[in-house]
Amino acid sequence: MTISRFSAAAVLAAAVAAASGAALAQGDPKVLRIVPHSNLSILDPVWTTAYMSRNHGYMIYDTLFGTDEKAQIRPQMVEEWSASPDKRLWTFKLRKGLEFHDGRPVASEDVVASLARWGKRDAMGVALFTFVDRMDTPAPDTFRIFLREACGFLLEALGKPSSNVPFIMPKRVAETDAFKQIDDYTGSGPYIFKRDEFKPGDKAVYVKNPKYVPRKEPPSGTAGGKHAYVERVEWNLALRDAQAQVNALQKGEVDIIESLAFEHYETVKKDPALQLPNFDILGLQFMARFNHLHKPFDNPAVRRAVAAAFAQEPFLKAQVGVKELYNTCASMFTCGTPYASSAGSDIQSKSNMKKAQELLKASGYDGTPIVIMKPTDLVTITKLPDVATQLLRQAGFKVDLQAMDWQTLVGRRAKKDPPDKGGWHMFLTAWQAHDIWNPIPNAALDTRGEASGWFGWGKDDRIVELRNQFMRETDEAKKKKLAEAIQARAFEVATHVPLGEYRSPMAARKNIAGFFVSNGNLYWNLKKN
C-alpha cells in the first residue's frame, strides 16, 4: 500500500514536472528573455563607456539622431533642423509626442542639459564642445547650438551610436555632475526600466513604454521606428556559462543569446528550432596597441616591423575560427563604412615575415623583451596574444607573454611605468565598428601623447593636425580625403595595428521575428510568435 502510494506520487510529480517543463519551454509571448553579453552593473551610460551600460541606455533613452545601417545620420527625436550659411548656428526642433516615463514632455532644456553633461565625458562630445560657444532654448521644442567656428561632425556627434551615446535625460537628472553616477533612470525611450526588479548579477527588467511614439521609418541601425511589440524584456544576467546559455536556448528557457560563443556556432546552426539572425554586418575589429612611451615602441621603425609581421589571417583563424564570421580589412576605420580605405596599409597588407625581419634589423631594436598582456578570462580575445607572441618571435623579437585576468589588464594598461616596473608594451583588444569608423572617436588615432586619452599615449603632431582639419571640414569628399591621410600617416608611424574584423553571432529561437541590421544590441521591433 505504502509503495503503491509512493509510486503514484512519483508518477504525479513526474507528470507535473513534464507539464511545467513544457509550459516553460513555450514561454510567455509577451516576455522577451535575453542573455546579454555581460553583466549590467553601471546604469549611467554617460558615466562609463561600458557596452552593457550603452545597451541599457538604448532600452530606456532616446537620442536626437540615429545612425542607420549604412552609417548615415538620421533624425530621431529631432523633427527638423537647419544650419546657418556659415554653419555656426544650428537650430533643431523636436518632434511632437515625446514624453518622459514620468509623463513630463521632453523639452529643449532637457536636451541642452543632457548634451552639456555628455560633452564632459565622451571623447567626441569633448571634441564637439571645443567648438560650442553656447546653447539656448528659444522655445520648449526648439534648441540652438552656437559654434565658435564651423564644425564638420556636429550631426555625427549628436547621432553617435556607441559609447558614450548622447542620450537625452530629464534636466533634473542631466544636471548631475558628469563624474557622479545618476540614480534616476527616467528616460523617454521605448522601454521603461523596472528599478524595483533590478537585481545586479541576476536580472534587469524593462517594460514597454505605452506612450512612446515611434518614427514612421523602418528600423535601421539606431535610427528609424522603435516599436516595442513585447510587453516585457528580461535580461538574464546570471546565465554566463556559454554551454548553459545554449542549453537554455535549446530548451526554450531564453529567447536570445546576444553573443554566442564561436564554438557553439555550428551547434546552433544545425538546430532547426534556432536561428542566427544577421543583425550585425559591421562587427568588431581586433587591434594590437603599443605603449609609445617606452623602448622599443617609442621608435616608429620598430612598430612598423611589428605591423609587417602581423598578418591578419592567423589572428582571425585562431580567435574566431569560423570562416563566415571574419574578414581581413586593410583599413583602420571599419570596412564597409564611409571612411574605410586601404590608404597606407601596404606595410601590413603586402608585407611578410621576411620583410618584418629586415625592418626589425634596420630599426636598431636592442633585444628588449616585449611585455604582452594576455587576458586569460576574456574568451573573445584571449588567443590573440598567443598569435602575436609567435609572430613577433618569428620576426626576431624577444617576448615576455604575461597572463592575467582582463580586469588586471585594464588596471595595468592605465599605468605609464616602464614595462619592467609594472608597465607594459602591448595589449590586444577588439573595438565595435561604431567606435572606430571615424577619426574622431577612434581612440587609437588620438596622438596627443601623454595628454591624449587612450592607453599607449601615441604622439604624432601630423595626425593631430589632420584630425583638427577633419573636425573643421564640412565637405564630405574632403573629409574622406583627410581620413585617408590620417590613416596613411597612422600606418607610417604605426600608431597601432588592425588585426581584421569579425562578427559576434547572435542566436535566437525561431519564433522570434523582426530582427533588423542594428550593428549593435538593440531590442525593439522584435516579435515573439
Binding site: 513526474a14 507535473v16 514536472a17 513534464a18 511545467s20 517543463g21 513544457a22 516553460l24 519551454a25 553583466n39 552593473s41 553601471i42 546604469l43 562609463t48 563607456t49 561600458a50 551600460s53 565625458r121 571623447a123 559609447s163 563624474f179 557622479k180 553616477q181 537585481k199 545586479p200 548579477g201 541576476d202 536580472k203 538574464n236 544576467l237 546570471a238 546565465l239 554566463r240 556559462d241 554551454q243 548553459a244 542549453n247 537554455a248 535549446q250 530548451k251 528557457e253 578570462d377 592575467m404 585576468d405 582582463w406 580586469q407 588586471t408 585594464v410 588596471g411 595595468r412 592605465a414 605609464k416 583588444t429 567606435d435 572617436p441 581612440a443 591624449s452 586619452g453 587612450w454 592607453f455
Partner: protein, 313 residues
C-alpha cells in the same frame, strides 16, 4: 556551558578583526584598478583618475582603512563601487539562493550518505562496502561541472523534466522554487555524499569494534538497534563535524554550480566582485563568510554536548 558560549562568541571578534585587516590589505596589494574597470574601455587616463578620486582610492591606505573600519564598527559594510548598492543589501539579495542550495544539498547528502556509510560499515569488506568506496572515489573525482552538464543533458534536455538553469524565489511559490533547485542540489550533493559516507563508514566501523557493541549484541538486541542506536549514535561526532564544515563551505559560495545553473548566489557575487575589484563587496562578503564559518563551528561544537553526554564545556 553559557560561559563557553560567551567565550566563543567573544573569540569571534579578534578572528573577524584579523580577517578584516588581512582582506583590506590583500585587496590593496592585488593588481587591478577598480576605477579603470568602472570607466570602461574607451575612458581616458584623466577620467580614470577622477573616478579614482571620487571613490577615495587616491587617499593613503591608512586613511582608507580608517574610514572603512569606522563604518564597519557601526555595522556599515559600505557601498559597492560597481552596483552603487549597500553591500549588506547585495548579500541579502544573494543569501536566499545560496542558503537554499546549501540546505537542499546537505539534506540530500545526509539522507543518502549516512545510511550508505552505516550499511557499508555493517557489511565491512563485502560487495556493498567495496561498491560504496568505489563510488566515493568517483564522487570525489568527477568535476562538478561535468556532472552538471551530464545531468542537464539527460534530465532537462532529453527527458525535459526540469529546467536547465535559473532560480525562482520561494516567494514565487514552492514548486517553481523547488524544481529549480533539484538539479543543482543533486549535482552538488554527490561530492558531499562521497565525503560523508566515507566518514560515516569509518566512524561507525570504529564504533562497531567497541566493547559496548559486543555487550549489546550479547544482550540479544536486534542488529538494527545495535547499529543505529549504539554504533551510529556514538560515531556521530565526526559525522556532524564533517556536515558542519560542508554547510560552511556551501554558504561560502559554490561558484561552479551557481555558474552552470545560473543561480544568483553569494558565490557568483564574490567572483563578480573579485573580477571587478569591487573592494567594499569583497571585504563585506569575506567578513560575512568568516562569520558564518565561526558560527557554524560554534554550533557544531555545541551539538557535541547533545550527541555525546561525556562532553562538557
Amino acid at each position: 556551558m553559557y560561559s563557553f558560549l560567551a567565550r566563543r562568541l567573544l573569540a569571534t571578534i579578534p578572528v573577524l578583526l584579523v580577517v578584516a585587516v588581512l582582506v583590506f590589505l590583500l585587496l590593496r596589494l592585488t593588481p587591478g584598478d577598480p576605477a579603470a574597470i568602472l570607466a570602461g574601455d574607451a575612458a581616458s587616463t584623466e577620467q580614470i583618475a577622477r573616478i579614482r578620486a571620487s571613490l577615495g582610492l587616491d587617499r593613503p591606505i591608512l586613511v582608507q582603512f580608517g574610514i572603512w573600519f569606522g563604518n564597519l564598527l557601526s555595522g556599515d559594510l559600505g557601498e559597492s563601487f560597481y552596483y552603487k548598492q549597500r553591500v549588506t543589501d547585495l548579500i541579502g539579495q544573494r543569501l536566499e539562493p545560496t542558503v537554499s542550495l546549501a540546505a537542499f544539498t546537505i539534506l540530500i547528502a545526509v539522507l543518502v550518505s549516512v545510511p550508505l556509510g552505516v550499511a557499508a560499515a555493517w557489511r565491512f569488506g563485502g560487495w556493498f562496502d567495496r561498491m560504496l568506496m568505489g563510488f566515493s572515489v568517483l564522487g570525489f573525482s568527477v568535476p562538478v561541472f561535468v556532472l552538471a552538464y551530464i545531468l542537464i543533458w539527460f534530465v532537462s534536455l532529453k527527458l525535459g523534466l526540469l529546467p536547465v538553469q535559473g532560480y525562482q524565489r520561494l516567494a514565487d511559490g514552492f514548486w517553481p522554487y523547488f524544481r529549480h533547485l533539484i538539479l543543482p542540489s543533486v549535482t552538488l550533493s554527490v561530492i558531499y555524499i562521497a565525503l560523508i559516507a566515507r566518514v560515516t563508514r569509518a566512524s561507525v566501523l570504529e564504533a562497531l569494534g567497541e566493547d559496548y557493541i559486543r555487550t549489546a549484541r550479547a544482550k540479544g538486541l536486534p542488529e538494527l538497534r545495535v547499529v543505529v542506536r549504539h554504533a551510529l549514535a556514538n560515531a556521530a561526532v565526526p559525522i556532524v563535524t564533517v556536515i558542519g564544515i560542508g554547510v560552511a563551505l556551501l554558504i561560502g559560495g559554490v561558484v561552479v554550480t551557481e555558474s552552470v545553473y545560473a543561480i544568483p548566489g553569494l558565490g557568483r557575487l564574490t567572483v563578480d566582485a573579485v573580477l571587478a575589484r569591487d573592494f567594499p563587496t569583497i571585504q563585506g562578503v569575506i567578513l560575512f563568510f568568516s562569520f558564518v564559518y565561526v558560527l557554524v563551528n560554534l554550533l557544531v561544537d555545541l551539538s557535541y554536548v547533545f550527541l555525546d553526554p561525556r562532553i562538557r564545556y
